[in-house]
């Protein structure tokens, strides 16, 4: 069996030995280097563009918006984002011109010879400025999208409560910071355009290319090259870069490469949406939630892009994994003159998770109830109903993860030890423990998967091996490996006899984007079904071939009654000789009874949720207010772990990314531009900052996932920031309602708290 085993990753050796070729490793005959000329202004009108007449422009290819054959937009949700600005600049770093030349030096030289004059307009740079509507930059009121989730009677619920507790929480931008920056090569072909590059979603790029040049499915070809991380940052933005490279390539009729350097990548591409989240919760004295009103405002940036989908996930997760009969969640995303915010691991959930978990901490504090107890009282369990009215029918690991995290971390013992330590005198280094509890819907929200109808397939090669056909990308998370494991076990052949087709739109079907913790649960399921069908077909064939009706396929051999009749490869070759190539393509269908209503925003938001609980232990230096995370213990229910080591890797990596979100990562803006666009001043945790981590995988199998698997990609991003903030609260008494908990912020809160308590 391959499932559940830590088999070697399919592309591991290649990566480890340096044989793997990333986009910037590829150089083609006659290739030009492209560069994007961007606006330094956040908002304005282009008055003129002039090209230095002392410079020889003949070797330079220049494109502006007039070179776009069709309409000027990047095909996404609203099609409102232009590929190149014609006149109206809506955010800093917005692309205006594209230039290409034979060397990078020459491109840089040419870039310095272009002058763009603007008429400056007053930019809208924050959620507050957008909401006050002094400047209108989108629609009538700057609001991109609204959602309302309503359940029960909030007013009644408030009356039932003994206490009303309010909180306002702020979450910042966050940069994905994949190791490999964005990059694409576009190659004009006789029939159309081929694009290679670093990306998560080849069919998004494919759609954008088709639209740009009005190409057929076959004329546009998109190939994913080895990709050094994505984290959502390579979901939508690659379409923009691909179109830019393609425009230049089309004009020059030569291949064009565009690679962003780190500064350009940080400055210009998407970020996690910042937000302001308000909670108003009614609770009884014994800690039951009776009503919850939540208001979410996210900053979408200058264009709609994926914002409505992020907002939707934020709204659906806003109450957290808690029971409450009376709920009203209002969610808005607003426009600002900043680069569009977009997909980032967690997709709206980490933002609201920080808010709902800190609200739970606040409630516990006010009621004088132990925070763990408060979670136990209100947690969702199997059979319970969520804010959208979804009854949790299966695979609910909520209690298991909470228990596991508490036991493994010795949460209670730690709490007590800290109390004793505290009582024995004031130390300048204080320890604290904190807890978080969270959940994450796997797959697209609502009817997304039903509409998407993900496709994937399997073909049997001439050598008699199984080859997986899917556009789900390997971006470091292990897609290729787990797909092969699933096929090996479903089909009954060895892991080494399964291979993966290149992620090339001319060879693989559209499995949907590689996002939303959906690859294993949804696409993995489709592949499992394809494998099942292949197995049926080839078994039937073998049964006839050998006159053995009871024949079975196990570990790559056809057997009957304990006797080996032939190898899978032999039979497969025979099958091909007689019937032609054996190839099966399957399509996703939602499990029976999973229903969602887009109008009332209610129903089964996700076929299944993954569950997590996390305990963070910190030490705070009371003079410098540095927070060191000593240990994180996390238990996560992800359904069956197809590859436990890769799953643990996802959990540890995601948790560390969330440590950065909670503690250090902060973009500094000046007039709508990012000032700290370098790794030396945008601080992410390094391996040296990684706390000791203990990971417990809980496997509550999901009946409609491959071998019971759910999703693991995003869940780990949700829990660390609130767990750390809770631990800081435990250590210092400072209640943090805004992340990151930088030392300066903590010092200010601490001074404030001390002043308040002195006045009391």
């Amino acid at each position: 069996m391959a499932v559940g085993q830590n088999v070697l990753r399919k592309e591991g050796v290649e990566k480890l030995t340096g044989a793997a070729r990333y986009i910037d490793d590829i150089a083609l005959e006659g290739m030009l280097y492209g560069k994007t000329i961007r606006s330094p202004l956040a908002r304005g009108l282009i008055k003129s563009i002039s090209f230095d007449t002392d410079f020889d422009w003949s070797p330079i290819t220049v494109c502006d918006w007039r070179d776009i054959p069709g309409e000027n937009f990047v095909a996404l949700i609203e099609n409102d984002q232009p590929l190149l600005v014609a006149r109206d600049v809506r955010h800093a770093e917005e692309p205006i011109l594209l230039i290409a030349a034979e060397s990078r030096t020459l491109v840089e030289e040419a870039a310095s010879r272009i002058r763009i004059e603007y008429e400056e307009l007053t930019p809208v740079l924050s959620i507050e400025e957008s909401l006050d509507c002094r400047e209108i930059i989108y629609g009538d009121d700057n609001v991109f999208k609204r959602f309302l989730i309503a359940r029960g009677e909030v007013d009644e619920g408030i009356n039932q409560g003994d206490l009303i507790i309010e909180g306002c929480y702020r979450v910042p931008h966050q940069e994905q910071l994949y190791i490999e920056p964005q990059g694409m090569i576009a190659i004009p072909t006789d029939t159309g355009m081929t694009v290679l590059g670093s990306m998560q979603c080849p069919y998004y790029v494919h759609k954008a290319l088709k639209q740009l040049f009005n190409l057929s499915d076959e004329q546009a070809v998109v190939i994913q090259t080895m990709t050094g991380g994505g984290f959502g940052g390579k979901e939508e933005y690659p379409s923009m870069i691909a179109c830019h490279a393609a425009l230049l390539a089309h004009k020059a009729q030569r291949p064009v490469k565009i690679i962003y350097d780190r500064a350009e990548d940080i400055a210009a591409t998407t970020k996690r949406h910042p937000g302001v989240i308000r909670h108003r919760t009614a609770v009884t004295r014994d800690g039951r939630l009776t009503a919850s009103e939540i208001d979410i405002v996210l900053d979408g940036g200058a264009y709609v892009t994926l914002t409505p989908v992020v907002l939707s996930r934020a709204a659906i997760h806003a109450l957290g994994p808690y029971r409450c009969e009376n709920v009203r969640i209002t969610a808005r995303a607003v426009a600002t003159n900043t680069p569009p915010n977009g997909a980032f691991r967690g997709f709206g959930a980490p933002q609201v998770a920080f808010a709902y978990e800190m609200q739970m901490e606040k409630i516990a504090l006010r009621l004088g109830i132990d925070p763990l107890e408060l979670r136990r009282i209100n947690m969702l369990k199997e059979g319970d109903i969520t804010a959208t009215g979804q009854q949790l029918r299966w695979s609910v690991g909520s209690e298991d993860v909470l228990n596991a995290a508490v036991e493994r971390s010795h949460f209670r013992e730690k709490q007590e030890a800290i109390q004793i330590e505290r009582a024995s005198g004031d130390s300048r280094k204080r320890r604290g423990v904190g807890l978080s509890f969270f959940f994450h819907g796997a797959g697209f929200t609502g009817s997304g998967e039903a509409k998407m109808k993900a496709r994937a397939g399997i073909e049997i090669t001439d050598q008699g091996r199984a080859r997986v056909l899917s556009s789900s990308t390997e971006i470091g998370q292990g897609t290729q490996t787990i797909f092969c494991q699933i096929v090996a076990d479903e089909l009954g052949i060895g892991f080494d006899d399964v291979e993966i087709e290149e992620t090339d739109t001319s060879r693989v079907p559209d499995s949907g984007p590689t996002v939303a913790s959906r690859t294993c649960m949804v696409v993995g399921r489709v592949i499992q079904l394809a494998a099942r069908e292949i197995k049926e077909k080839i078994k039937r064939f073998a049964a006839e071939l050998f006159g053995a009706p009871e024949i079975d396929l196990m570990e790559g051999r056809f057997v009957e009654g304990g006797k080996v009749l032939a190898s899978f490869a032999e039979v497969a070759r025979e099958y091909a000789a007689q019937n032609g190539k054996l190839k099966v393509e399957s399509q996703y269908a939602s499990p029976m009874g999973v229903e969602w209503d887009d109008d009332s925003y209610s129903g089964d938001a996700y076929p299944a949720f993954s569950w997590g609980a996390e305990v963070a232990e910190v030490e705070v230096d009371m003079d410098t207010f540095e927070v060191s995370v000593l240990k994180i213990t996390t238990a996560q229910d992800i359904g069956r772990a197809i590859h436990p080591l890769l799953a643990a890797g996802q959990i540890e990596g995601g948790t560390l990314q969330a440590v950065g979100y909670g503690l250090t990562e902060e973009l500094v803006w000046d007039q709508g531009r990012i000032v700290n666009r370098m790794l030396t001043n945008y601080i992410i945790p390094t391996s040296m900052d990684a706390p000791d981590m203990e990971t417990v995988i809980v496997e509550k199998e999901y009946p409609h996932g491959p071998f019971g698997a759910k999703g693991v990609g995003e869940l780990p991003m949700d829990g660390a920031a609130p767990a750390i903030a809770a631990a800081v609260l435990n250590a210092t008494g400072a209640f943090v309602s805004e992340i990151p908990v930088t030392p300066e912020r903590l010092m200010m809160i601490h001074e404030g708290t001390r002043r308040e308590s002195n006045e009391d």
């Binding site: 990078r104 030096t105 840089e108 030289e109 350097d261 500064a263 003079d623 410098t624 540095e626 060191s628 503690l663 250090t664 500094v668 000046d670 000032v675 700290n676 666009r677 370098m678 790794l679 030396t680 001043n681 601080i683 992410i684 945790p685 390094t686 040296m688 900052d689 930088t742 030392p743 300066e744 010092m747 200010m748």
Partner: protein, 330 residues
């Protein structure tokens, strides 16, 4: 990055003759850890790079007859950390070098380069110039995002902080610098090497475009307790937010004289006369160290976003003194 000519001389005389009359003409290249990133960001664009790494006489650490230590400008941070003499007598220098956490930077970055590296001020690094002015000539830092900027010596026009961690430690140890130029060799106190620029065409240290640093001379630290304490954002590879290096000449349990130098808080490594005067004649205690810290920042003034650094600097001084008292153990 723009194209440039590359020269690799083998003597300091050749090196100096290959340098020019401005940074646009030529710049000296040691480990390149700072210079190359400045070139990539188009902050400097020398037409020629003069590689110093083949100039053998700039290498090596050795004891001089008078007991002082000679550190060649090309000595790498890692070589410094590995050196037995440095480890034995100069704890404060080890602490400072140890703070440069990335193994790659330690392997390539040199002591001379550390002293001559340019400020990390993000306005400077984004192309607004060392004095960070907008196109109308207004200073950007006082009203802008100055969370990492100066809290001492910040009356303008320079608001950045000196980025070198080794400089405060070396100054506290009384180091001198040898500079070689067309007129031959000059010696100066390292402290005097640094000066806040008053106009856009000055640097934050006194080195002509056709001069190089050849070596650093550190007097024997016998009888001096010394230590450095840094406060940084987590264990990240970034520069400290504030640091203090102290050297205390002891006579029994009493401090005979003290040198206290703060790093990353002012456009120059900041010598605190107040703390030094106070410490002379005192016996080290938690309380004494605390007061010294408070005195060291007595004249500090916060800009809009960096008040927090005052607290950090105070704590750094206190902890550096306590660390020195404990024999400078890490």
């Amino acid at each position: 990055m723009r194209g440039f000519e590359y020269a690799s001389p083998t003597t300091k005389e050749q090196a100096v003759s290959l340098l020019g009359s401005s940074d646009d003409d030529a710049m000296a290249l040691a480990g390149g850890t700072d210079l190359l990133s400045l070139m990539k960001d188009d902050i400097v664009a020398p037409r020629r790079l003069v590689n110093l790494k083949d100039v053998a006489e700039l290498r090596g650490i050795r004891l001089l007859p008078d007991g002082s230590l000679r550190i060649g400008a090309l000595v790498t941070v890692q070589e410094l950390l590995d050196n037995a003499i440095v480890k034995r007598g100069y704890a404060s220098l080890i602490h400072a070098a140890d703070g440069i956490t990335s193994p790659q930077i330690r392997a390539m970055g040199t002591v001379g380069g550390d002293l001559c590296q340019r400020p990390r001020c993000w306005y400077y690094r984004a192309g607004f110039g060392l004095l960070a002015k907008d196109k109308d000539g207004a200073a950007l830092v006082p009203e802008g995002d100055n969370r990492y900027h100066a809290i001492l010596g910040n009356t303008g026009p320079a608001y950045f902080v000196n980025p070198s961690s080794l400089a405060p430690a070396l100054i506290a140890l009384g180091a001198k610098l040898h500079i070689f130029g067309s007129g031959g060799q000059v010696e100066m106190n390292l402290e005097n090497f640094f000066a806040a620029p008053t106009s856009a065409n000055e640097k934050e240290y006194r080195l002509k475009p056709n001069e190089i640093v050849t070596e650093i001379i550190v007097p024997s630290a016998g009888g001096w307790k010394n230590a450095t304490y840094e406060v940084r954002q987590k264990e990240s590879l970034d520069w400290p937010l504030a640091a203090a290096s102290v050297a205390l000449k002891m006579s029994g349990k009493t401090i005979e004289s003290a040198r206290v130098v703060l790093g990353h808080v002012a456009p120059v490594p900041w010598r605190s006369g107040e703390a030094q005067a106070y410490l002379a004649g005192k016996t080290i205690s938690e309380q004494v160290a605390e007061t010294a810290g408070t005195l060291a920042v007595a004249r500090a003034s916060a800009m809009s976003h960096n008040g927090y650094k005052i607290q950090l600097a105070r704590v750094a001084v206190k902890r550096a003194i306590m660390k020195a008292a404990q024999g400078g153990q890490r």
